[in-house]
Subunit: 365 residues, 2 copies
Amino acid sequence: MSKFLSKRLQNLEPYTPGEQPQDQQYIKLNTNENPYPPSPWAAEAINAAAVNQLRLYSDPTCEKLLQAIATRYELQPEQVMPGNGSDENLFFALRAFCDEDTPLAYADVTYGCYKVWAGLLHIPSHVIPLEKDFSLDPKKYYSLGGETIVIANPNAPTGMALPAAEIEKIVQANAGGVVIVDEAYVDFGGESCVPLIKKYPNLLVVQTFSKSRSLAGARLGFAMGSAELIADLNRVKFSLNPYNINRLTLLAGETAMRDEDYFRRTCGIVAATRETTAQELAKRGFAVLPSKANFVFARTDKMAGGALYAALKEKGILVRHFDAPRIADWLRISIGKPEDMHKLMEALDAILENASRANAAQPTD
Amino acid sequence: MSKFLSKRLQNLEPYTPGEQPQDQQYIKLNTNENPYPPSPWAAEAINAAAVNQLRLYSDPTCEKLLQAIATRYELQPEQVMPGNGSDENLFFALRAFCDEDTPLAYADVTYGCYKVWAGLLHIPSHVIPLEKDFSLDPKKYYSLGGETIVIANPNAPTGMALPAAEIEKIVQANAGGVVIVDEAYVDFGGESCVPLIKKYPNLLVVQTFSKSRSLAGARLGFAMGSAELIADLNRVKFSLNPYNINRLTLLAGETAMRDEDYFRRTCGIVAATRETTAQELAKRGFAVLPSKANFVFARTDKMAGGALYAALKEKGILVRHFDAPRIADWLRISIGKPEDMHKLMEALDAILENASRANAAQPTD
């Protein structure tokens, strides 16, 4: 920290992204990436000619991409705003709709960036604990008096989802504030709130190309809502970074959004692999939360979360462990290809057998 | 504007990017893009295999790119931080080094985003007017008492540059504050302050791949300074958008940075074309400021700036006109290929001849 850093930032705790060790090849089940490549249309669109056009600024209005998203979600282009990853969309929304007088309400166990952004932007946080079983009780969000609310649905890292009708009640009950629904993982089995946008001017839905469209490395997210909310987000964007999305990502996003068949096919395979994975974990005695996302959240009585994470890493498999209250014994396991999950099960069997043998070998007197 | 927009943003005036009309093909001399494509190494690096890897998050530490930049500028990787365009680097720097108590000092005629960011971040602005001839008097920056200073060198839209020794005196005189030197245009003939970084812990130099490395559409900038200043910027980055740069841009940037020959060759051609352009404009009676950038700033007594801009657009040539105090009669003309500049001169000749004929035809009594 330099002596020049603003006092306001000196206590800020940045977000820690999932590790990306370079020491060996790992089976990466730790950052919720899609195991399948993006639509082949994206690679076609990004060719040498496209690269040569990089000398020119990208379209700050992102017109063609907006058109593709609007068509897919039955919205108008002015109801959509793309971002440099949905993280940027969410940051813009917090900048627009929160301030010292308008706190941000969110769950205690959810995406870690909400808390970090509130810190960076000096927004008061209103943390609403999840229930004991990690479910979210919508009633606790019914009378927040104009606070801005953000709900990840499905939630991370639990994977648990609310039906759209339950979110709708929250949106209705908070007409004086903006309700942001972070649907990063919705395409793997959740129910989207996008159809509610035409009914509620205070609803903002944020999605991403990172997961269901296999473009985590392209950095592309999008917010959807009333034209007025989107105009507010654009006011922030054009005051911060008008050219926030590069040309190649615009091409990748537009083509991937149009390739509906490929999208449905890959999401379907991931969802099916998730179900098999959950069953296999349950067979081995794991508690597994009911996930609608491209990951599962699981724990076993046989081994602490941190120790199991370390043992898997030793065997070349990365999963995500959060050393945080309530979830320190759980692991978030991204869904890979079936063969990756098979190797995971083999590794778990070996690790847990080893652990129980070690336990049995302890002197009992 | 929605009723939900934070009161703090309601008077914010966003930046207006240069126009990108789609109605016809224009000769684009309005956004300071490079007329030559990026290094062919970039197109080679971005191939189908790279696109297929987009399913994976980009490296948040940007390690390989940092290594390439550090090697080129004789710095350590921890003295460099890449951004999603240098706009993002500058925004991070203002977030880190300014606040309600630490104003931002900058010239009245300079890059328009400084003022916009100060508005977005609620930072007081200390505007220091340029001299009558648009030169910057360094003495006016000698005792700013810990304010953060940003100087575009060469300046935009004037193109005028200070020698590094003059900037050094400002950095020395303001040891209690950070001095940011925005060197977006330095590679076309300016003198960089990068060699001063090892002497001054309060100096931050920001450059971009957009201009001299022909990658405006890839969105890539970088800040260079002491490891402490860079750590502060990373604290902001990891609190806002840890994956701020996408995989393909990382590849394009790394390869373009290593292709020194191509860089020198294209910068040399642009600088030579600038000199010819300035001479041709002077021949036609234009006042042309002495530019070290990839654009010239020029005016003529024969026609108002706005009218000349419109007449050129009618002829299919876009230049930039700022309807702002002190510079409303000037045009900023980006340097294109020699044939583009030739067409510009033909258009100017036709427009000015037409104008003087129309003037002559006015009844004089």
